[in-house]
Amino acid sequence: MKPPISTIGPMPMASPTPTGPVMTQTSPGTPTHCPYCALQCGMRLTAAGTGAGGRPVLTVTPRTDVPANGGGLCQKGWTAAELLTAPDRLTTPLLRERRDAPLRPAEWDEALDFAAARIRRIQAEHGADAVAVFGGGGLTNEKAYLLGKFARVALRTGQIDYNGRFCMSSAAAAANRAFGLDRGLPFPVTDVARADAILLVGGNLAETMPPFVRHLAAMRRAGGRLIVVDPRRTPTAAQADLHLQITPGTDLALALGLLHIAIAEDLIDTEYIERRTTGFAAVRASVSAWWPERAERVTGIPVARMRETVRTLAAARNAMILTARGAEQHAKGTDTATAFINLALALGLPGRPGSGYGCVTGQGNGQGGREHGQKADQLPGYRRLGDPAARAHVARVWGIDPDDLPGPGRSAYELLEALGTPQGPRAMLLFGSNPVVSAPRAGLVADRIAALDLLVVTDLVPSETAALADVVFPATQWAEETGTLTNLEGRVLLRRRAVPPPLGVRGDLAVISGLARRLGQDPAAFPEDPRAVFDELRRASAGGPADYSGITYERIEAEGGVFWPCPSEDHPGTPRPFLDRFATPDGRARFVPVDHRAPAEDIDERYPVYLTTGRVLAQYQSGAQTRRIAALNEAAPEAYVEIHPDLAERLGIAPGERVRVTSRRGTAEGVARISTAIRSDTVFMPFHWAGDARANLLTNPALDPTSRMPEFKVCAVRVERVPGAAA
């Protein structure tokens, strides 16, 4: 048994300049969190003179008092402040009266009046649902909450969803089904270092949230074993004790095979199954059909490696199974996550201190963003829109009749696909997202957006989607505003304003408030002040699964964050929610039988290679932010296609040559990177770039029947050299 490790020891820290002093916790400046991923690394922002246009320049130093990063930052974090002074930062609203006119600068009142008038007209002509709202997992809790309220109360539209549908929805659906509650990691991230074995399925943490690897490394230093499932030998897989280089789209078969082995070798925790779960008999019968040799043939993982995996997990005193987008972004993502939860339950992991199942949330507020009502079927506090009691509670907080709340609307891709069609929305308000780059089948999505009568975009920078808008509102960014986010552990954190925004720039809350007022709402019901919004969010979430009612800004500051659920101000918060019971009616976790099926689109003669997509360290999501930072562009300048040497040889492709990748939905281009890190039947493309370099021109929008997650992680393509093009 290993001693408990409460935090990761601090690393020697870099100073902002090569000769500068090392910062300590008592340093001046504003303590806050990184603008990017769900790890929400703690950082401190310090003024360091004045830059172009008289704007204050901020330097970033990592905080050692935030356990998630323990003094670490990746290059995105270190350079985060550069976005504050991005040369093409939006500082004035933009407007065009006609689709064929160029965007021109406008006054705030003019732009708000214009947008509100157009919204009124479209709704008068086509009904409330003719206006859609699309949010993002990077928005603060306050913004996500107010956006959901705005849609349902001010617009009275059911057509609201957000890009988190493309991130967390499969794992969320699976966790709700099994545990009655979806909190990405139902334990503090520091528990990772105490584990003896971790199975990480489809996650490349060394690139997507590098400081997380400190927890994995601490686990391994103490003798723990890391097993990574990934079609690529990613920097994360390269650090693993065992890498299962799986065929894309077959994680579900692997999970079934692993559970089969656990049962056959009697490695399951029957006492736990008896005491804390229901439904095991049906799952046991269902995995009887997945003997390991069958799973081997489907997954390509040798039986011996599967047995080693199960034995390692079963022998560990504390073990964890973590899934990420690689397992979840499939048309069967919910069932895949369920199958790994079934495995975790059979091994007796969830709800045991130091062990468990967790999903590694992606976007900065991927957790909080999925709790407070910007999702099509959801109300604040992770309440269900279809639940009469939930509707009554939230309607009371909002001062409306529950019958006036619209019902559930379309999911993200279905919403985008319907834009501008006879039955679909005619207008869309977009916040914190760039679907022209990040949505699947991006070519079609761009066409649908172009068919709208009205697109209103609120963003920091002229993103690829903002360029298509009729009205653009310039928004504040993370260091210019205050608000809460909920990190991958379910810990509610506070980002603080460190500098005033540039002249002419306002917050998303001000945009929502300004539009609501013009649509006839009481300004008091749509405040611009984040604290006022948060206080209302607390009341709206009270009694719901994600109960924030006991959380205050003061408590977050004093306690370094508060874990939800936190039902009262004297409640300590809930770092590990499942220790005594699961959030199901009977308190037991539910086994759910699931079965494997092939990818929605398998390889064939015309499209003989799998494409899988993902991320690189120096870029974030659609790249709208990171592609504007010089050091990050230097590190990751352009789209590439990772190809195994055997495949490259067969296709006559040399390193650095431009290659063209074609699926049934489109063609994208990138530079060939020849690497043995990828399977020879698969190519990989990161999805951060725009134009012809968009990997999402290729991806398959086949949707998961439960979560409505598109199949980003596997489709069939053809790869060829671009004729006549050199490196």
Binding site: M11, P12, M13, A14, S15, P18, V22, P62, G71, G72, L73, C74, Q75, W78, L205, A206, E207, P210, P211, F212, V213, R214, A217, P235, Q239, T247, I263, A264, E265, A281, A282, R284, A285, S288, A289, W291, E293, R294, E296, R297, T299, G300, P302, V303, A304, R305, I603, P608, L617, A618, A631, E634, A635, P645, D646, E649, R650, T676, S680, D681
Partner: protein, 495 residues
């Protein structure tokens, strides 16, 4: 077609759901029933089988014999499934005849069950060779057989397994794993001769020998005689082996009597077309009882592919589904013996390109048979990290890379372990902060003299922290180089 697809009834505003009768509830029949029910919640389904047990996974029976699975762990459906899914299960009532005129199956108890579509999934039965005293042996085919074997194995002191095919080898290995001395007697000159070449059979025999199975190939059993409380297995040539448990694993043959009596076309198996239809269009046959394009399959994967095709056809969910044959991969399930065999394994250099590696002492034998740059056969004996990749290359008929050795030894080409001082300047050391080895060396050249100073200047190691060892290695290498240079300069001074 008068009856199919069944949901045609519904579209014409039918009043009653169509009736599907499945005879046989083994791996094929039960698979078909679940596939049909998953696709169509309304069709009326009756499944009949002579035995009362719910369906179980025959693939796992060798685990039961080996003691690594308990009998209750091999059920494919939990018994409550039928009621929950509105399927009438007549288990324990054998079907004795098919009246094709009236589209009715007749059971042993005289009941008649009308059908619109009938699927025969009758499976196969063990071949009992014409040996005197064969009745003293236990066949190895059903869960009941397994329970008989286990009951005898508890008190037995020596077992003989007759038949060195896949099942015989698994049974012998399983019994040996229980600590029971086992002799495996096989008629052919080497084990698993249908799947393996002679050398592979030899290596497999040696591996089994180490695991407690005495292998006798080229041996003909002439009789099984009573010998006190046990038996004596007599071989041609006069030798005899004492055994108080004798297991027969001499192959199987399709069960076809019901079909033959109903006048359906039967060859070795019940003859079916690409829709798995017999010469009566209302009757399909799937699994080990059927013969498609001249082939009778004895493995589960083809049977399940067939079940999916038939389910697609009779529910109308996939009216163009066709079965076009299966590529078969045989995977031995025996603890401590990794063996996969696929395709045409016995070809030699005269007929194909052959890549081979063998290491008898290690129990390793790997053979690839290649034609037109495609893998058409393989034997992988002994733990092989390439087993998954090769199976998929075979399954897909995908073109092979030029480096054939890399197919047998993956990772051989990718091995590159440069020491920190050999890391080229252009290589990224710290991925989190995009710091190359060159920048660290430049930092040293600019005056930084320890890791902390390099880290402060470059941010290397401040992300995930996993490059710390490399950063230290490079810095230490530079320090050692400088010290070495100073020493040399000092030595050069007196000269």
């Amino acid at each position: 077609m008068s009856v199919l697809p069944l949901n045609g009834h519904r579209r014409r505003g039918r009043v009653r759901a169509p009736r599907l009768v499945v005879v046989g509830n083994g791996m094929s029949g039960s698979r078909l029933v679940t596939e049909v029910r998953a696709r169509d919640p309304e069709i009326r389904i009756t499944v009949s089988a002579p035995g009362p047990r719910p369906p179980y996974n025959r693939v796992l029976l060798s685990n039961v014999v080996a003691g690594t699975s308990r009998p209750e762990q091999v059920w494919l459906l939990d018994p409550a499934w039928y009621e929950r899914h509105d399927v009438t299960a007549r288990l324990g009532v054998a079907v004795t005849a098919i009246d094709r005129e009236t589209r009715t199956v007749i059971a042993a108890d005289g009941t008649r069950e009308p059908y619109d579509v009938l699927v025969l999934a009758l499976g196969s039965e063990p071949v009992v060779p014409p040996i005197e005293g064969a009745g003293r042996a236990v066949a190895f085919r059903t869960l009941d057989d397994c329970e008989r074997i286990l009951a005898q194995a508890r008190t037995a002191r020596h077992a003989v397994v007759i038949g060195g095919g896949l099942l015989g080898v698994e049974a012998a290995r399983g019994l040996a794993g229980r600590g029971l001395p086992v002799t495996l007697v096989h008629l052919a000159e080497h084990l698993m001769e249908r799947q393996l070449d002679a050398e592979a059979g030899l290596v497999l025999g040696r591996t089994l020998g180490r695991l407690g199975v005495a292998v006798r190939t080229g041996a003909t059993v002439t009789a099984i005689r009573a010998d006190g409380p046990g038996h004596r297995v007599e071989l041609a040539g006069g030798e005899s082996i004492p055994a108080d448990l004798v297991v027969l694993a001499c192959g199987v043959r399709p069960v076809t009597g019901l079909a033959r009596a109903a006048g359906l076309e039967v060859d070795r198996g019940i003859v079916v077309d690409d829709e798995l239809r017999t010469d009566d269009p209302a009757i399909h046959a799937i699994g080990e009882c059927c013969q498609h394009a001249g082939t009778v399959y004895g493995l589960v994967a083809p049977a399940w592919e067939q079940a999916a095709v038939v389910a697609g056809l009779i529910t109308g969910t996939d009216p163009t589904a066709r079965y076009t044959g299966s590529r078969t991969v045989t995977r031995l399930k025996a603890a401590g013996v990794e063996l996969a065999a696929m395709g045409e394994t016995r070809l030699t250099e005269d007929d194909a390109e052959v890549v081979r590696f063998s290491h008898h002492r290690d129990g390793t034998y790997r053979k690839l048979v290649i034609r037109d740059d495609r893998l058409v056969g393989a034997i992988l004996l002994g733990d092989s990290p390439a087993i998954g990749t090769l199976t998929q290359l075979y399954d897909r008929g995908a073109p092979l890379p030029r480096d054939r050795a890399g197919l047998l030894f993956p990772g051989l080409a990718g091995a590159d372990a440069a020491g920190p001082d050999r890391i080229p300047d252009s290589a990224t050391v710290c991925r989190c902060n995009n710091v190359t080895a060159g920048r660290i060396r430049a930092c040293w050249a600019a005056g930084a003299r320890d890791v902390a100073a390099v880290v402060a200047a470059t941010r290397a190691g401040t992300g995930c922290g996993s490059c710390r060892a490399d950063v230290e290695g490079i810095v230490n290498g530079l320090r050692a180089r400088d010290a070495h240079q100073r020493d040399q300069e000092r030595e050069e001074v007196p000269a």
